[in-house]
């Protein structure tokens, strides 16, 4: 912010009526804004800090010091243990097994649930048929039903389908429970696209699937990112379904985490627990850190409207 020389001179000479000077970086307003943000950031970062610091301390240090003090001696032991050798019952291979299970669960569940929900949203937004809204309303109300309520009926349904305890079953469960919110998201997004595009494509002779794959899909990156983030974190973090609808060989990482954290052998090994916690949270955290910006944009594009 540079004043013209003439203006500066005029000011000095006192010719100019006194006007308020331009804002500086350190104005009261900025101090308030950044101050508040900083305080909030501390609240949000504190737990992460505690997790990280604790996970690299040795047990003696944890017992003696307080949780906020930085480690005197850094050890990666807890991480190694959490990943590879923490025990649950007889299995002492830490989280490593659960990690791959989680991947095997999350990838197909995310893909399939997004695919189905986006097609639903597309059909609801562009190909409304009689009664479609009834189903949609049921679905949305379903978003509020506590999972526990649905647990038993789903057990029965899966049993009748003969896929209880299989990965397929779990993928279906994730698809079902992801459906309400994702469908809403996609419906709102597709509805916010100009309907002329859809009309133009129909005149061009494209059918339901051609319009979906060739017109709508390529235009919908932001909302797919939002859906992807929601599903990856949701499914990765899921504990209940992972434990209820699968067998131990498919247990996801969260179940392993729960086992490690709850299998107390003498004293709680907080450092191992924290390392395990961080390892379990790593995937969704990375997803967030990498695509957080798209997330906000996608939310703005689809979720908030309608």
């Amino acid at each position: 912010m540079k004043d013209g020389p003439a203006l500066a001179a005029a000011r000095k000479a006192g010719v100019e009526p006194a006007g308020r000077r331009p804002r500086r970086m350190l104005s009261g307003r900025n101090i308030m804004i950044y101050g508040t943000l900083f305080v909030a950031a501390v609240y949000y970062l504190l737990p992460l800090y505690v997790m990280i610091v604790t996970s690299i301390k040795g047990m003696p240090e944890i017992r003696l010091g307080n949780i906020f003090s930085p480690p005197m001696e850094i050890t990666l032991e807890p991480w190694a243990k959490a990943w590879a050798s923490a025990c649950t019952g007889l299995n002492c291979d830490g989280l490593s097994r659960g990690f791959w299970n989680s991947v095997r669960i999350t990838v197909p569940s995310t893909l399939i649930s997004i695919l189905i929900a986006s097609i639903n949203g597309y059909a609801l937004a562009n190909w409304k048929f009689k009664g479609a809204d009834v189903f949609f309303t049921i679905l949305i109300v379903g978003a509020f039903i506590p999972y526990q309520v649905m647990l038993y009926p789903i057990v029965i349904v899966l049993r009748e389908m003969g896929i209880y305890g299989t990965l397929t079953g779990l993928v279906i469960v994730h698809t079902i429970f992801g459906m309400p919110i994702l469908t809403l998201l996609f419906r709102n997004y597709f509805a916010s696209l100009p309907s002329e595009l859809f009309k133009a494509a129909r005149i061009d002779g494209a059918g339901f699937w051609q319009i979906y794959f060739r017109i709508m899909l390529p235009m919908s990156l932001p909302i797919f990112v939002v859906a992807m983030i929601l599903q990856v974190t949701g499914i990765w973090n899921d504990f209940l379904f992972g434990v209820v609808f699968t067998r131990p060989e498919y247990y996801p990482m969260t179940v392993q985490l729960n086992n490690i954290v709850n299998s107390v052998q003498g004293v709680k090994e907080y450092n191992v627990n924290m390392a395990a916690t961080l390892l379990t949270g790593a995937v969704p955290l990375i997803v967030y850190f990498v695509s957080g910006r798209l997330f906000v944009r996608g939310i703005a594009a689809g979720a908030v409207k309608g």
Partner: protein, 300 residues
């Protein structure tokens, strides 16, 4: 409509066939799982099913027992307190943060990531971490005491009277980021000219927010409210991870009651009755919302 016009008319059922076929998963989910499952649950809440569902009706017995159970009453109270404060604080905090983020600040991405990352963590993880930070023996209390304030007491998770607020702290930490994101998106959607007009009119910033911007963001607030509310009704993992409902039954919540009675107590009937009551709660939330969202719009 002449008969001639109808001649070439294809059957109603066949029209939009692809769309209907594509919607089959949705229809099945809606009808079989959500509607069917709910009805099934409601029906069995009138039975005395134990470990396995059995159709032996006992009328309203399960409900009578439910409302006579101190634990259920505590659960409902807790849900009300937790729900109320979660709504208030996450909306207020979320909005304040969103408003600050909307000031064309530097490091916006950094701040946003900081506020949002807890949302990536499961409630299990959130619960664990906060249980630890709030643990009086080595958490905040001990740290403050070691600084010389030996009289300092802050052990929300071990004090029946305030334990629910301990859970609230963790819940807010996890969820406010998303609220902020939603509201930020809403704020960004406000026509910039409105801000300019308000400035020209000499309306102070806080008044502009309070009387102009917030009322304009009603739809966003409603969406946000619904998202928060649906999370509140379901709160379970957080409590389990932080306190397991303790001390005693001080931090019990309805979802946990349902789970415990269905599976631990092997009394499905009681669990179903409790979950039916939760559904009623949901209905109380959702009906006014649907009215505001759809009923209101149609009139407008």
């Amino acid at each position: 409509m002449t008969s001639q016009a109808d001649a070439g008319r294809p059957s109603r059922l066949l029209r939009n066939l692809s769309a209907k076929i594509a919607s089959i998963p949705m229809m099945l989910t809606a009808v079989v799982i959500f509607l069917g499952g709910t009805l099934w649950t409601v029906v069995y809440s009138f039975t005395n099913s134990k470990l396995l569902p059995r159709l032996s009706y006992v009328g309203l017995d399960q409900y009578e027992r439910l409302w006579a159970a101190p634990r259920w009453v505590v659960s409902i109270q807790n849900l009300a307190i937790y729900g109320f404060f979660t709504l208030v604080f996450s909306l207020v905090m979320g909005f304040v943060l969103a408003a600050l983020m909307d000031q064309k600040i530097r490091f916006e991405n950094t701040f946003r990531t900081i506020f949002l990352y807890p949302f990536a963590l499961s409630f299990i993880v959130t619960g664990l971490v906060w249980q630890w930070i709030l643990n009086p023996e080595f958490g905040i209390q001990s740290v403050v005491r070691s600084l010389g304030f030996t009289g300092f007491t802050f052990d929300p998770l071990y004090d029946s009277d305030i334990v629910i607020y301990g859970i609230l702290i963790a819940g807010l930490w996890q969820g406010t980021g998303l609220v902020m994101c939603l509201l930020l998106a809403g704020l960004r959607g406000i026509d910039e000219d409105i801000w300019k007009a308000a400035r020209v009119d000499g309306i102070p910033v806080w008044r502009t927010y309070l009387f102009i911007v917030i009322p304009m963001m009603r739809p966003v607030f409603i969406t946000t409210l619904v998202i928060i509310a649906s999370g509140i009704v379901r709160v379970y993992d957080l409590v389990v991870a932080q306190t397991s409902g303790g001390p005693g039954i001080a931090s019990e919540v309805p979802a946990k009651y349902v789970y415990d009675y269905m599976f631990q107590a092997q009394n499905l009937g009681q669990g179903f009755a409790a979950s039916t009551m939760m559904l009623v709660t949901v209905a109380i939330i959702i009906v006014p919302w649907a009215y505001l969202e759809f009923g209101g719009r149609r009139r407008g």
